[in-house]
Symmetry: C2
Subunit: 341 residues, 2 copies
DNA sequence: AGAACACATTGAAAATGATTCAAAGCGCTC
DNA sequence: GAGCGCTTTGAATCATTTTCAATGTGTTCT
């Protein structure tokens, strides 16, 4: 007796048959007992639950998934987790999905080109849906559509194909930033872009450039890659190639804005915002740190993730739903990294 | 003909039976064809692969998991994703596990007390193993052991139970920091701790306190909670309660060190490191930013994640393995936030 | 009271999509 | 034609859901 360790007869974990035997009912009764809204007599239910507790029984989600064709798994495909903006998004998404009884299968890409390799795994696991914050080409989007796996794109829209998406509006955000800078009487503009393959990066830069153009301002664009070091490097580039004295710097995200601010202050002895105004995008944690207080656009992460999860679940439950695109306006955060009117 | 959209006959995705029919072989042949090292004649393999390609067939990992009792899923349970240190760890872990053909089921906890709720799901999905960077009590650890699910604790050790773990050595790290500060002729020490329920937080503070004591130095400890704002707040507390002029500040992580540095400089006009030396722990991204260059202990994230994944896979494959504890020494990063000898 | 009926419970069995083992098939050689 | 590999097939298995028919239970009507 004392020698026997595991409570269930078999070596492994208990199955619904074990519970059924223990409770003296049929296996299907056990199944119904764990299913919401199935008809089981109160007395039977109690017996079964007692047996289940005793045997430490937990329904096998794998077997459930096989028969119901619902894995209750959602793939989250995210390109660079290290970007300070994404951890917050990821945490929000997983917690919200969890609350809906959905599990997250995480795919973190080192490079965008890995996406095909992870898709292979996405298909194999028969996920119910996917939230993607990485670049998908038309063919990959079509693959999702063919398989009837709903996708929500996060901060990007389907290029070519119509796909459901949740985005923070780059255009209105950059407009607000540019307008504020122009009203603040800035004249020589620089832009630090994101990496070439970044959707939001290109979108933000293009929006800023266009608005500047509308307002009769010219600008110098240099490429960054969203990280701190590239903000520093890009500022150095700008200082080298700009003949007039740089006045205002628009960065495609906060991290580069911070890199540029540090670089200006420390490498060039430029006062921010007195001599140079710097604005970013995202509203990540460090943007609000005392040393920076970046003037930026804060993405409404909570509302966006909430929308993404809600839209995904809707589409899992009603496959035919139209590819709605939800655009959220960011909030202009007036920090002290820019001299505004 | 043109009206027929999906290549497979059924509505959904193709199964091995569909492929078998298409290729004119038995279903088990298809199975073997997708299994590494099974014997299939070259001609048959080709026929099958062609059929599979045509039908867009991907083996159903759910069904595989059911029969093989290997889900190829590993749970990663992580307490606060927003701590700047964890995204890097998470990205490394998922990529390394991916490379080994293992998928990540992510559980992100808002509070440590949620752990029981996610464990329920962990059991249901029959994960092959788990990597946990959250507090597990003896009972929860026992539950893993009972089910034969190997666990690797990340940056914490099993309290009571012996469990496999991968840690960065707090003691040697804090010793190095304290020694450097003492040699740098500091006298009035402050410590900002982590939240009460943080394992590493307590460990680091205790190690620092003990070393200071050994060297005949006293210290004032105030509580923080690992985030930037709490570094600021804790510094304010310290300034209020310390009667002598604070000389050296030891923070349980970099984020609080950065908060304290900003607060000292901006709220109190204290020069860092001239008037106050600040040290942290982790070696996260912002620690190396130009504005901070925190003197800290950098955790060898790559080696640690590599070890965690390797240990986990070993234990999945050989269930009996002993609960090894691997301790990694961090590297002292001599920044410019502390005045050292 | 007894029959008829609605209705909640229950259990047997099929189905889900793979792996795997024993047994049969096939192409050779001797 | 027996013997020997290598392939291939058929059947059993994994743990669940779900359908369908059967059983029981209580209510109402005559």
């Amino acid at each position: 007796m004392a020698a026997k360790k595991q409570p269930e007869a078999n070596s492994g974990r208990a199955t619904s048959y074990d519970v059924a035997r223990q409770a003296g009912v049929s296996q299907s009764a056990v199944s119904r007992c764990f299913k919401q809204g199935a008809s089981v007599a109160p007395r039977t239910r109690e017996k079964i639950l007692a047996a289940a507790r005793e045997l430490n029984y937990y329904p096998n989600a794998i077997a459930q998934g096989l028969i119901t064709r619902r894995s209750n798994l959602v793939a989250i495909i995210i390109s660079n987790l290290t970007n300070l903006y994404y951890p917050e998004v990821l945490a929000e998404l997983t917690q919200r999905l969890s609350a809906q009884g959905i599990r997250v299968l995480l795919f973190s890409l080192a490079a965008e080109s890995d996406v095909d390799e992870v898709l292979d795994q996405v298909w194999r696991y028969r996920v119910d849906g996917a939230i993607v914050a990485a670049r998908l080409d038309a063919q990959q989007l079509a693959a999702f559509a063919d398989r009837g796996v709903p996708v929500i794109l996060y901060n990007r829209i389907g290029e070519g194909e119509p796909v459901a998406s949740v985005c923070c509006d780059s255009v209105s955000g950059e407009n607000a930033l540019v307008d504020a800078l122009v009203e603040g009487d800035h004249h020589v503009f620089g832009i630090i872009s994101g990496p070439a393959d970044s959707y939001v990066g290109e979108e933000r830069v293009e929006a800023a450039r266009r608005r500047l153009h509308q307002l009769g301002r010219d600008c110098q664009i240099v490429r960054g890659n969203f990280d701190y070091a590239s903000g520093d490097a890009a500022l150095k580039d700008l200082m080298r190639i700009t003949d007039q004295k740089l006045d205002a710097l628009i960065c495609a995200n906060d991290l580069m804005a911070i890199g540029a601010i540090d670089s200006a202050r420390i490498n060039f002895g430029i006062e921010v915002p007195q001599d140079l105004s710097v604005v970013g995008f995202d509203g990540v944690g460090p943007a609000t740190w005392l040393a920076y207080q970046v003037t930026t656009i804060r993405q409404p992460v909570r509302r966006m993730t909430e929308a993404a999860v809600a839209m995904l679940i809707e589409r899992i439950e009603q496959p035919g739903l139209s590819p709605e695109q939800r655009l959220f306006a960011g909030e202009l955060l007036t920090g002290s990294s820019a001299r505004l009117a």
